[in-house]
Amino acid sequence: MNLLGTWIAAGLTIAILSFLYRDNPLYKFAEHLFVGVSAGYWVIYIWAFDVKPMLIDEFVRQAGFEKWLLIVPAVFGVMMLMRWIPRTAWISRWPISFTVGIAAGLALTAQVQGYIIPQIQATLLPLVSVGNTTAETIGRSFNNILIFVGVVCALLFFYFSREHKGALKVGSKIGVIFLMIGFGASFGYTVMARLSLLIGRLTFLLQVFGFR
């Protein structure tokens, strides 16, 4: 049974890879199968990890007021599915507004506390940082200055409320240098990630065909 599964997996892998030559029926078959099985998988997952344990099982387990309160999210869930019918689609706005409100409320504080404040704090570094040796002092201070200047100038580049002239132009030009290095580094890492996936798939295929 496992051997059959391995060959199915190998066949599907080759079917997807065949797209490299050109679009073909084998690829289309695998692509459509992927969409279908993924959708089915989501249904099972939502039932097993959401509706059943959090709604049905909880409804059975709880007693009194707590039990009946669970009707609210259940109704909200059903209201959400009203989107399937055009005439009743507006009903889904209630649960949507509930989820949007929660997400916005949580994000508001999390982004300030979890990103903006600690990241600004970490940028406000001593521009002269004394180390054990002169070289260390120069190195640390240079890096601190670069971080400070880089963050400020990158922010200036995205400041579009005034025309980029004079000091703002100089700042944004410096910002571009940092941004380009940043994008380059991200690209380098992205190439690495994509190749890793290929390494994973080819390792699997080579194992199936006995090359490894």
């Binding site: 490299l20 030559y21 993924s38 998988y41 989501w42 997952y45 939502i46 097993a48 990890f49 959401d50 059943k52 344990p53 959090m54 099982d57 909880e58 387990r61 929660i102 997400a103 949580l106 994000a107 504080t109 999390a110 982004q111 506390q113 979890g114 990103y115 600690p118 990241q119 704090q121 970490a122 971080i147 940043g182 580094a185 991200s186 890492y189 992205t190 190439v191 690495m192 990630a193 190749l195 890793s196 996936l197 290929l198 390494i199 994973g200 798939r201 080819l202 390792t203 080579l206 090359f211 490894r212």
Partner: protein
């Protein structure tokens, strides 16, 4: 000159073939290369090493098959290190389609290390809601995970007896290929003061350096290289370490292609 012209206009499929071979040949030949350990991976490794025996670590599986070659070796190494240190693991995640994938690794490593379900580790499965679940656990984990992934009440497991929220956890380790990695830091680390390090794909890794410098996380294990370094530190080189020669040669080839492309560009510009 003809050679330069050809190099500047290589057919797309030839590039595909070259990349395929650059990856396949080192795998077939079982090449090996020395792995250099970076400070961000060592720091992540030491975070676990410094935890006292019996500490609880929450592992969040926020990746799926699209990034498994990078994150699977990290997760296996993490499990081996934790079980060797006799730490307790809570396994959960926010990417439904990836959870069973890591479950196979969990079953494999727990069998190898002799870890006991419910005593040394527990699999809580998935709940939708991302940030809401993350923040909710900060108050009481049972409000979201009253049962484990098979529907067994969590209170029936000995290891869950005294675990209620992040106050009872020593560390969070997130295995992510998307924004969930950042959500954990922003919504949980800052709010509840729990320690964390991130195991992420190469695509995500650059995004996390600001968090590391700000001290919000204690380490980054990024991409296949990070996974290989972690495997070396844990002392169990596997797929990541063995994949690095293929990665190296493919990188060299891509850089060569970029150089060829630029040579062609400058030649055509001079001709104009």
């Amino acid at each position: 000159m003809k050679v330069l012209d050809w190099l500047a206009n290589i057919d797309r499929r030839l590039i595909f073939l070259a990349i395929g071979l650059a990856v396949a040949i080192p795998i077939i030949m079982k090449l090996r290369m020395p792995i250099r350990i970076s400070s961000e991976v060592r720091s992540a490794y030491e975070t676990i090493e410094n935890l006292p025996e019996g500490s609880v670590v929450l592992a969040s599986i926020d990746y799926d098959a699209t990034s498994a070659p990078e994150l699977t070796p990290m997760f296996r190494s993490f499990l081996r290190q934790c079980f060797r240190k006799k730490l307790k693991i809570i396994y959960t995640g926010h990417l439904a389609i990836g959870l069973p994938l890591a479950q196979f690794d969990l079953d494999m490593v727990t069998a190898e290390c002799g870890a006991v379900y419910g005593e040394d580790y527990i699999n809580l499965g998935y709940r939708p809601g991302y940030t809401a679940v993350m923040i909710g656990i900060g108050r009481e984990i049972r409000d979201f995970f009253a049962v484990d992934y098979k529907g067994v009440p969590v209170d029936s497991f000995p290891m869950m007896k005294d675990i209620h929220n992040y106050g009872d956890m020593a560390l969070i380790v997130d295995f992510a290929h998307g924004t969930a990695g950042e959500y954990w830091i922003q919504y949980v680390v800052s709010r509840f003061g729990v320690r964390m390090f991130s195991c992420v794909t190469g695509v995500m890794a650059p995004t996390l350096y600001p968090y590391l410098q700000a001290g919000q996380i204690t380490g980054i294990i990024g991409g296949l290289q990070g996974a290989a370094e972690y495997e070396m530190l844990v002392g169990n080189p596997e797929s990541a370490a063995f994949g690095m020669p293929a990665q190296s040669i493919a990188h060299l080839l891509i850089i060569a292609f970029i150089v060829f492309g630029n040579i062609g560009y400058f030649i055509s510009r001079r001709k104009k």
